[in-house]
């Protein structure tokens, strides 16, 4: 056959994706009914309201400051949008790798007579949606707060959409182009590994630097030599060549009643030019890159190190459990997308400890005994929340990740209890080490009494067992067998319910313990000897019982659910 072929429309190429999304939503609705939707909408709504409320108060305060107010508001918006653009570039690079080079529909699209431009635009659109939906949702309450507080009116809504759309598009084009170049240099799977390390390393670095320079000090005008210096700093654009700055200028000019078309024009013309250049780059490099993406897995792995080290440690275990634990550890450390997240985790822990250290509790004057104990006690809740987030990322997906291999596990004589047992301990042991370190170090920094040290270490241990069990139990109750990317699993409905339950657990335990701790603090404060009486023991017992129930019940329910799995 010769001659020109009629090209399918862009919509036609994208249609399967859209239909898949619709079908997934339908299935989710059928599975969970209105209850699930109500919970999602309520939690989302509350989050939006929270962001809106906090920002609205800040902006209200800014509006009260003559001259400086609008400058501060603009600076704040600029910083927020800059943070979003940075996140978007990182997430677009990773998303573009999947959508342009590793997606399952590529074989079909590349072998069909679809021209390069349609392929590029379809995949770019897919990349924009996948990587930007969360940022787009986050921007809504932020811009709503700006719009309401500066009385932008109804016209502000379409204007904001018009401003933010190119700001989301530009990082996607840049991300796709960067990926295209990288894939031409390295094989795709290697690139994915490299990117996850670079992206997470960079994100970690940014957070670390941002925290360690203590930006809160910059916000204090008394730190500057005079007001003029302060205003000069505020007036200086943070990043004059970045779309976030143009978007800020466009929005702030609208809100101050003097619309400046220049930033909007800059945004749209740059977006158009970038898409054009991106498309041309795609035409030149995609075919070779796609070919390279088909190659390249790691070669030659012996794995004897694991057998000698962890394998020897696990010797006392029955062979099935031992092999299962070993398998889980190997899979984790051989998958760069998994272990590289530990970089970010380490950074967050450093920042956490740094924040505790930076608390103005010890300033030479006698330490406020009450505050130290209060912080140490509340720290338990915060540490619990950190542990819950880690469990959501690493333990919650554990059952889902076995989905494709469940044929093997279910057809073998492996007892499901052994499977759950292995998953539980593989997740719990590192979590426990981290929990003890986190609580221990922060308590040492806070210089707490030995009573508080013992109470917090014992509590965090019990909480860790419970959080781990909850993560595994909910992971089994709401499995995501179709998702290949482990990082996406915690953002599911089950992940949300897990986090909500954990917050409730933390609240209950802290409430129970607060009675005992209050008795202790009061006794010390009043100079009386601390007596561990029946009442105190009773509250400790309540907290222990709550934790024990939160450990046993989810594991039991999870096991029951796993027995019903069908593949």
């Amino acid at each position: 056959m010769t001659g020109t072929t009629v090209q399918p429309s862009l919509w036609h190429v994208l249609q399967p994706k859209w239909r898949t999304v619709r079908q997934r939503l339908r299935e989710a609705r059928e599975r969970g009914g209105w209850g699930r939707l109500t919970i999602l909408v309520t939690v989302g709504g509350l989050f939006w309201l929270g962001v809106y409320g906090v920002l609205f108060r800040i902006l209200k305060y800014f509006r009260g400051v003559e001259e400086l107010g609008p400058l501060l508001a603009g600076k704040l918006l600029g910083l927020v949008l800059l943070a979003f653009v940075s996140i978007l570039i990182l997430s677009n690079v990773i998303t573009a790798l999947s959508s342009f080079f590793l997606a399952k529909d590529l074989d079909l699209l590349v072998s069909a007579p679809v021209d390069w431009l349609r392929l590029y635009l379809a995949k770019l659109w897919e990349t924009v949606i996948h990587s930007s939906w969360m940022v787009a949702l986050m921007i809504v309450p932020i811009l709503a707060a700006f719009g309401v507080s500066y009385r932008g009116g109804l016209l502000f809504i379409p204007y904001a959409v018009l401003t933010i759309a190119p700001m989301l598009l530009l990082p996607a084009v840049v991300g796709a182009a960067l990926t295209l170049i990288l894939v031409n240099v390295f094989p795709a799977r290697r690139t994915r590994d490299l990117l996850s390390i670079i992206a997470l390393g960079a994100a970690g670095g940014v957070i670390l630097v941002f925290r360690l320079i203590r930006p809160e000090q910059l916000a204090r005008p008394e730190g500057f030599r005079n007001l003029l210096d302060f205003i000069t700093v505020l007036r200086t654009p943070t990043s004059p060549f970045l779309p976030s700055e143009w978007a800020t200028k466009a929005i702030m000019s609208f809100l101050r009643g003097s619309v400046d078309p220049m930033p909007l024009l800059l945004l749209w013309t740059t977006a158009a030019a970038f898409v054009t250049f991106g498309a041309l780059l795609h035409r030149e490099l995609f075919a070779t890159g796609f070919t390279k993406a088909q190659e390249g897995a790691e070669r030659f792995v012996r794995g004897t190190l694991w057998r000698w080290t962890v394998g020897s440690l696990l010797r006392p275990l029955p062979v099935a459990k031992r092999e299962f634990v070993l398998k889980d550890i190997k899979l984790f450390f051989r998958d760069t997308t998994q272990w590289s997240q530990l970089i970010l985790l380490a950074v967050l822990v450093v920042v956490y400890v740094f924040n505790i250290k930076a608390l103005p509790l010890h300033r030479g004057e006698p330490v406020g005994f009450f505050y130290v104990n209060l912080v140490s006690f509340l720290n338990l809740g915060l540490a619990g929340f950190v542990l819950a987030s880690i469990a959501a990322r690493f333990i919650f997906p554990a059952v889902s990740l076995e989905g494709r291999q469940m044929w093997l596990l279910r057809s073998s004589p492996l007892d499901l209890k052994a499977l759950l047992w292995s998953k539980y301990w593989v997740g719990t042991v590192p979590l426990l080490v981290m929990a003890l370190l986190l609580t221990g170090i922060t308590n040492v920094l806070l210089e707490v009494s030995s009573f508080m040290m013992v109470v917090s270490l014992a509590t965090i241990c019990a909480l860790t067992f419970a959080i781990s069990a909850l993560a595994l139990g909910y992971g089994a109750l709401y499995p995501q067998f179709e998702t290949e990317n482990a990082a996406q699993i915690p953002t599911s409905f089950g992940g949300l319910v897990f986090m909500m339950t954990t917050v409730a657990l933390l609240g209950a335990v802290i409430l129970a313990l607060s009675q005992a701790v209050y008795t202790y603090v009061r006794a010390v404060y009043e100079g009386r000897p601390v007596v561990i009486d029946a009442r105190m023991i009773g509250w400790f017992a309540v907290a222990a019982l709550v934790c024990a129930a939160a450990t046993a019940i989810p594991l039991k329910v999870g096991l029951k659910r796993m027995e019903q799995f069908e593949f």
Binding site: R189, A297, E298, R299, F300, V301, R302, G303, P318, V319, A320, R322, E323, F324, L326, K327, K330, L331, R334, D335, R404, Q405, M406, W407, L408, L409, R410, S411, S412, P413, L414, D415, Q564, E566, F567
Partner: protein, 252 residues
């Protein structure tokens, strides 16, 4: 060795397997044929203990797969149609892991792994991550894993898909030898020549029900098919006369 008693499986209102009863004695290679969507894979997955039947039961060597799962599964080796294995394990590690699931370890298992890898020509790939394996190599690895604990029964779903002619021949020889030594194989396949050449008995399933069972000559006799080939018999029993229309469609 394998006994299915009134085995039934519903998916909502859809009846995938409808009250099947069948017995496969020791030392027999039993074929399980049927058109797409007839209920073959569902039946085999219930036998392997992966799916729970809505009704009825599966016995392997006298043990109920769902009531005494560990005893029944110790006798069983299952080979699925889609070779999903852990991508980040090497071939040798995967086999060692599977052996561990059956409680086996030590030098004997190391020797067994080496032997199986050698037979399936995977020795030079044993330290490669599975993600680098082709479809056929994965299939060979899964077949090795099903044999590693020396099962008494092999349940296999579409074993020839993705195998090169040499491996396909090897597998046929392995199954024949396995059966010769008293093992039992229940095999689903679409390759009717393979079924006709290899199987001692055959069951044909359609719309979740067994529509014919016996040796090929039995089936010919039961359905007055003269000396028709298994393919013709299969088409006759499963309403495959549409094949002629297909040729017309392709002929444009």
């Amino acid at each position: 060795m394998i006994r299915l008693e009134n085995l039934t499986k519903h998916y909502g209102s859809f009846v995938a397997v409808d009250d099947i009863s069948m017995s496969v004695p020791r030392g027999l290679l039993h074929g399980f044929l049927g058109p797409n969507g007839a209920g073959k894979t569902t039946t085999l997955r219930m036998i392997a203990g992966i799916l729970r039947p809505t009704d009825g039961r599966v016995l392997i060597g006298g043990d109920d797969v769902h009531k005494q799962p560990l005893a029944a599964k110790m006798r069983l080796g299952f080979i699925p149609d889609r070779p999903f294995v852990y991508d980040k394990l090497t071939g040798a590690e995967f086999l060692r892991f599977v052996a561990g699931l059956y409680g086996q370890e030590g030098e004997a298992i190391d020797r067994r792994i080496a032997e199986l890898l050698e037979v399936f020509e995977l020795t030079s790939w044993k330290d490669e991550l599975v993600e680098a394996y082709s479809h056929g190599m994965r299939q060979k690895l899964i077949i090795s894993s099903a044999l590693i604990h020396r099962p008494e029964v092999i349940v296999v779903d579409e074993p020839m898909v993705g195998l090169d002619p040499k491996a396909a021949r090897l597998l046929k020889d392995i199954f024949r030898q396995f059966v010769g030594k008293g093992g039992t194989v229940l095999m689903s396949t679409h390759t009717l020549e393979v079924a006709e050449a290899m199987c001692d008995r055959i069951a044909i399933i359609q719309h979740g029900k067994i529509v014919a069972e016996g040796t090929v000559p039995d089936l010919r006799r039961q359905h007055q098919a003269g000396d028709a080939s298994l393919e013709e018999l299969f088409l006759k029993l499963t309403g495959g006369a549409h094949a002629r229309e297909l040729a017309e469609v392709l002929g444009r």
